[in-house]
Amino acid sequence: MRPAQVLRSIRWYLRELTGENQYAHYLRRHSAAHPQATPLSRREFERHRVDRADSHPGARCC
């Protein structure tokens, strides 16, 4: 692998791991399922995503 490729892979991995890519995934799903409707804006989407965690606590282990 070339260095540029390595850097791109690391960037992709970090974005996937932290959920930064979730919005892109959402847009893809949305346009496939409801091509006519306007999707949520990034701001709205991220609010929904993080606020959902308030009622769905995830355990962290010891």
């Binding site: 932290t18 959402y26 990034r42």
Partner: protein
């Protein structure tokens, strides 16, 4: 094992090539040589690199052969079968996710302070028992449990351990699992908070750096919410930079007039932590928890990789004995009791951790694309966790034993000064001069290292030795020490916040059955009341731990270990029951043998903690000894007044009742599971399957970290949904 793997080759699988055979032979040889070096060197110090090579060699063989055998023959994974992530994909809970990303998520969720703290305490028995159990335990018990529970949860739409226990074993098993989870959560939070208190007590540098993580996290949360929504990577990079600045800043604060404001007693710190735990757990997730989680994930992955590289480059020599006399006498100062069962109780997380079964049956099964990936995610992540434990053990064992005991024995035994600690350590048969002890503290810019129990400071001293011998020399020693303290405290605080929320959620769920409004997660008074209840529960144990003259870690860590291993017994009992009920009695040993071992360890430990006549081990013997002395009007060291005598009596009663309660829970679950298994074996027809029915998968994804040639062809053919670059 090779025979069982190859005797039924699936269609299209070729014989291994000569290079593959040679490569695996080399791996096996390297591991064997390293084990021989560890086992055969007596009376001379060996290099830590041998531990690393033995661990990695054993993991590689176990992953390639044993895990593969489990996946193919015992679990019988089927990649034609759609996973819940594929079938129920809703883009929120269920989402097929790239295997490497799931591995990262799963590892971040299972790895915390446990594998760093347990092995450090277990170093009291020498490096050999710890190393053996961390490696053998993970291969045959811990990684097996994580993977098997993950697989069974995938086959049941991502059901939780509690649900599976109820459905497979019965209502008693289910209820016991639920109570166990709640109890372990409370003890876990108390012990972890105690580790932080002991690491920060009277250390203005550490206290300032950790306090700074709160404004840093708030800033990140605000930035992500308002300024640049969702840009997590850039925010985290800024956050980590600020964190490093906070560590450097701690050094300035220590030498400035502000130092007094950040020099806190253990009691004050305990109260601060309880307050923090309450506020953090009622604030919305975006403010504090989410940014903290990103920070601790980055710090965790970064520091652990640094440590691995550091150990290999620095190649430190182990100064601890292979096996100390405490292994057979059971009179060790860090925790009481003999090697069996207490070394296994103490190491807990790095070898077998019941808590992982909750993660394996939580979010992870809802993200997996292919059943065969359970080997990478379930087994592989646990091998990584075990490797973290090995490095923590290395960091503790490269210290001079005298320093190790001066740091880890209870304060009541060591006294407050370097002189008293030096002479106390001498009574154990080790030596460190008061000058060396003071110099060791000065080199990491701490006032004292005496009685800094809990594992974190010991690990931090070990890590600073390793790091500073690679980068920076003595000049950076203090920085690396506080870097290590920060790294541990950071994710302990994240666990405290997240754990309080999980505990509150369980409490709300249960109490909601009694009084409905309490079950509503959006009803603020209910939320505050249940949060306060959870915080006060662990806060109680934390405060008694901080003020206990016998040493909080000494008293509470065995309870935490027992609770964790009890949860593992529940998980392994569920797994064994499922194997038996699904007609796989001949493979039931895969989880049955680790279960038998774990039950023997946990029940022996509980028995000794409850019934031992030795007041150092048995909680009730300890209670009686102090109660008798109080009746006669005498004070028993290390208690200095009647108040402390009363504290010891109350604490040992509570701890003893808890230990007995935990043991009764595990006996109830095991008896119930045994009955269910016996009925299944006796009955002629197989019980109805509890798996979700088969649905054909349309997804293609590789099983392992690197796709095989065959998988590449399949991927090119079907164009998987993953977003691989």
């Amino acid at each position: 094992m090779t025979a069982t793997v190859t005797d039924r080759p699936p269609a299209g699988r070729s014989r291994p090539s000569l290079t593959t055979v040679l490569a695996w032979t080399a791996v096996a040889l390297a591991g064997a040589v390293a084990w021989a070096m560890i086992a055969l060197s007596r009376g001379e110090n060996i290099s830590a690199v041998w531990l690393v090579v033995a661990a990695l060699g054993s993991y590689a063989i176990a992953y390639r052969f044993y895990a593969k055998f489990l996946v193919r023959r015992v679990l019988r994974v089927d990649d034609r079968r759609a996973t819940p992530a594929e079938r129920l994909d809703d883009g929120v809970d269920f989402q097929p996710t790239d295997r490497r990303v799931v591995l990262g998520h799963h590892f971040a969720a299972i790895a915390g302070a446990g594998p760093l703290v347990g092995p450090v305490l277990a170093a009291q028995m020498g490096y050999l028992p710890g190393t053996l159990w961390i490696i053998v335990g993970v291969i045959f018990a811990g990684a097996v449990q994580d993977m098997v529970i993950l697989f069974f949860s995938i086959r049941r739409d991502g059901k939780s351990l509690g649900q599976m226990a109820r459905e497979e074993i019965g209502p008693i098993g289910g209820a016991a699992a639920l109570i166990a989870v709640f109890a372990i959560m409370i003890i876990l939070l108390a012990v972890l908070a105690l580790v932080v208190v002991n690491a920060l007590a009277r250390s203005p540098w550490g206290t300032f750096s950790i306090a700074m993580t709160i404004p840093i996290a708030l800033f990140m949360g605000f930035y992500l919410r308002v300024i640049r929504p969702g840009r997590v990577v850039e925010t985290s990079i800024v956050g980590v930079a600020l964190l490093l600045l906070a560590i450097v800043g701690g050094g300035w604060v220590q030498d400035s007039g502000l130092a007094a404001a950040f020099t806190l007693s253990p009691q004050t710190l305990a109260i601060c932590l309880v307050g923090y735990g309450f506020v953090a757990s009622v604030l919305p997730v975006w403010m504090l928890l989410a940014p903290r989680d990103y920070l601790s994930t980055f710090m965790k992955i970064g520091t652990i990789s640094l440590l691995a590289v550091g150990v290999v480059i620095a190649a430190p020599v182990l100064k601890a004995d292979a096996v100390t006399s405490f292994a057979s006498t059971g009179t060790g100062p860090v925790f009481a009791g003999k090697l069996f069962p207490f070394v296994f109780i103490t190491i807990a997380c790095g070898a077998l951790s019941g808590f992982h079964a909750l993660i394996s049956s939580g979010t992870t099964p809802k993200m997996i694309q292919k059943e065969s990936q359970v080997r990478l995610v379930g087994y592989g992540a646990m091998l990584m966790e075990s490797f973290v434990a090995i490095m923590a053990l290395v960091a503790a064992c490269i210290l001079e034993p005298g320093l190790y005991y001066a740091m880890n024995a209870p304060a009541g035994f060591l006294g407050a000064t370097a002189e008293s600690a030096s002479s106390a350590v001498a009574t154990l048969g080790f030596s460190i001069t008061p000058q060396d002890l003071t110099a060791a503290a000065a080199s990491v810019h701490e006032q004292t290292l005496v009685a800094r129990s809990g594992g974190a400071p010991t690990l931090a001293v070990g890590m600073s030795e390793i790091f500073s011998s690679v980068v920076g020399g003595d000049a950076l020693k203090a920085f690396w020490y506080h870097f290590a303290i920060m790294f541990e405290a950071l994710f302990i605080l994240t666990t405290v916040d997240a754990g309080t929320r999980v505990g509150r959620f369980m409490l709300q769920d249960t109490l909601g059955n009694i009084w409905r409004p309490l079950g509503r997660v959006s009803w603020k008074p209910g939320l505050w009341a249940t949060s306060a209840a959870v915080v006060l529960a662990w806060g109680y144990f934390l405060y008694t731990g901080v003020t206990n003259p016998l040493g909080g870690i000494n008293q509470l860590f065995p309870l935490f270990g027992i609770a964790n291993q009890l949860l593992a017994a529940v998980a392994l009992a569920v797994a064994t029951t499922i194997l038996v009920k699904s007609g796989r009695l001949k493979w039931a040993w895969v989880t049955g043998v680790p279960l038998a071992w774990d039950a023997a360890v946990t029940l022996t430990a509980s028995y000794q903690k409850v019934f031992s006549a030795d007041p150092r081990i048995g909680f009730f013997a300890q209670r009686e000894r102090y109660a008798d002395a109080l009746d006669h009007g005498t004070l028993l060291a290390p208690a200095k007044n009647t108040g402390q005598m009363h504290a010891v009596i109350t604490n040992s009663t509570v701890d003893g009742v808890l230990a007995a309660f935990f043991a009764l829970l595990v006996i109830a679950v095991l008896a119930n599971a045994a009955l269910v298994c016996w009925r299944a074996i006796r009955s002629r027809e197989q019980p109805a399957s509890t798996e979700t029915p088969f649905v054909e998968s349309t997804l293609a994804a590789p099983a392992g970290l690197f796709p095989t040639a065959e998988e590449r062809r399949e991927l090119a053919h079907t164009a998987g949904r993953g977003d691989t670059p």
